[in-house]
């Protein structure tokens, strides 16, 4: 029995995965079409845009939102770490917008390479990829 308690104690000492900002902030990158003038985005704006509540970039340009499937692990990380919302809340926000006439649904892509492709070719586009996964066709947007 004492061994078990020791094991539990040691487990508690291990760094908590994805619990602290420093270890996770750099794992997902916001990306945008090169014609987007913004180089950074306030977290509030990012959340409002991805929740489909705000339809433009801060300078007035139309925002075109792209997301991975709800059950994609990167989508879950993106929601929780960059936007600070759970994926089920985002999904509910989209459904409410679409079915109440207050907003549109985000564009859906099924893979990160498709995400890059669509963001690179859609003016005003915003999306996300694993950091290091972005290429020269898109612009990285920093969160302020």
């Amino acid at each position: 029995m004492p061994q078990l308690w020791l094991a539990v104690f040691l487990l508690l000492l291990l760094p908590m995965p994805s619990a602290t900002a420093e270890t996770t902030d750099d794992s997902v990158a916001l990306i945008a079409h090169p014609n987007v003038r913004a180089v950074s985005l306030h977290p509030n704006s990012a959340r409002a845009i991805f929740a489909m509540r705000q339809r433009t970039w801060p300078d007035g340009q139309a925002a075109n939102v792209f997301v991975l499937p709800d059950d994609d692990p990167l989508h879950a990380r993106f929601s929780k770490e960059l936007l600070n919302v759970f994926p089920h809340q985002l999904k509910m926000a989209w459904d409410r917008a679409v079915f109440s006439g207050t907003g549109q649904a985000p564009g859906r892509v099924s893979t990160q390479s498709e995400m890059l492709e669509r963001v690179a070719t859609t003016p005003g586009a915003i999306g996300y990829v694993e950091k290091g996964g972005a290429d020269a066709r898109v612009r990285i947007i920093e969160l302020q």
Binding site: P58, Q61, A62, F86, D95, F99, S100, A105
Partner: protein, 404 residues
């Protein structure tokens, strides 16, 4: 109303909308880009209802149960400019009653303009037929994919006078203010609500010679979302006004006011949510020649619900939901003494457990079981003789929903 393709209120909504749509007409060169923003979505839901006593949404207490619960909706939206959204949805719904109820209606149809935004503020205005921000669920109450259960808690989202709660034809202003870890959302609207036969039935005016008309009404909601929506609190209030135009032999002209106030609170964790809503519903009718029609009651209702997401595509919930038609006569005994009608028609206590399974993003299967004491929200059209209703009854609901 019957016989024309669109109801009078739908025509009124279109009259409000068309000039605005015309003013936004785009040049042919820009039209192609605009068509890229076109989105169309829809859903179909079919329910199956079985009750041991009383009828809900059709002859549910018959041996075969009832399949008279169908919802079909199609919507389209377009962004002709970066700051403008045009959106409309047509809904066909049958919930008991007769087949003609399924005639498609304009559920919402709006032109939505958003002012230039900042990271901390969004302000917009909607013109046309806008959905009423009433509690957490009213705006998408007919869309299975947005509901935690097959039936929304009937104490607040009851079916018997649903038409006046749905949407209004007029103007609505909304705003969001984001600060620190919280967001405040405000929406205020003014317009004409829709009045269908359900309201006349609920008021006992359906056999009388005369008709109910909507008068300019107001609705508003203030909602606070903390820390990305972990905690959501909302207060909704409305002042819905109707006028009864009596004809010869009728109960005389009357005025009706419906003033609900709803407090809503929700806690969201990653795997579970706890939701509660509480409503005070003041109902006042006056100036009728028939004294029994002049009333001033305040109804009281509320529910608490725990829902839990399991695996990635299953969710179950348990809910306790209570309604009192008149908070000064919760047991309904005073009503029974006065009218001779059963006391149990004035309250309902509903314990529900249910399960949802979305094995594909476009498919939702759901089942739930209700154990009900009282018939306070039982639709009258399914049970024409209230003296014939039973106080304690159980209900099983199954539903399949598809979206496209």
């Amino acid at each position: 109303m019957r016989g024309s393709a669109l109801s009078n209120s739908s025509k009124r909504a279109l009259r409000l909308l068309l000039p605005v749509v015309g003013a936004l007409a785009v040049t042919p060169a820009a039209a192609e880009g605009v068509m890229d923003t076109l989105q169309m979505q829809g859903f179909v839901s079919q329910g199956y209802v079985v009750t041991n006593r009383n009828n809900f949404f059709g002859p549910s207490s018959d041996s075969g149960g009832s399949l008279e619960y169908t919802e079909v909706g199609v919507n389209a939206s377009l962004r002709p400019r970066s700051d403008v959204l045009i959106a409309a949805q047509v809904l066909s719904r049958r919930a008991g009653g007769d087949g003609s109820d399924a005639k498609p209606k304009l559920d919402h149809g709006v032109v939505d303009y958003q002012l230039p935004t900042s990271p901390h503020r969004t302000i917009g205005i909607q013109a046309g037929r806008f959905k009423n921000p009433f509690g957490f669920y009213n705006q998408t109450r007919d869309v299975a994919f947005t509901r935690p259960s097959i039936l929304l808690p009937q104490s607040i989202y009851f079916d018997r006078t649903r038409s006046i709660a749905l949407a209004a034809d007029g103007l609505s202003v909304y705003g969001a203010e984001r600060m620190g870890r919280g967001e405040i959302h405000v929406q205020a609207g003014a317009g004409w609500p829709q009045v269908d036969d359900d309201v006349e039935e609920a008021l006992g005016l359906d056999q009388a010679p005369g008709s109910l008309k909507a008068k300019p009404s107001a609705i508003g909601q203030v909602r606070y979302e903390h820390n990305g929506g972990r905690i959501i609190a909302a207060l909704s209030a409305a002042n819905v006004r109707l006028r009864y135009d009596s004809r010869t032999g009728g109960p005389g002209n009357g005025e009706i006011k419906f003033q609900p106030l709803i407090f809503s609170l929700q806690y969201n964790a990653e795997k579970w949510s706890l939701t509660g809503e509480y409503a005070l519903r003041r109902f006042k009718s006056e100036r009728f020649d028939v004294p029994m029609l002049n009333r001033d009651d305040t109804g009281e209702s509320g529910y608490i619900q725990y829902s839990r997401r399991i695996l990635s595509d299953w969710q179950w919930f348990v809910r306790y939901d209570v309604l009192h038609a008149d908070r000064s006569d919760r047991s309904g005994r005073a009503f029974e003494d006065e009218t001779g009608l059963p006391a149990h028609t004035r309250f309902a206590k509903d314990l529900t457990v249910g399960l949802q399974w979305s094995f594909h993003p476009q498919v939702l299967l759901a089942a739930e079981y209700h154990r009900v004491d009282g018939t306070g929200w039982l639709p009258r059209r399914d049970n024409p003789d209230v003296a014939d209703t039973e106080r304690r009854w159980n209900m099983l609901l199954l539903q399949t929903s598809l979206r496209f």
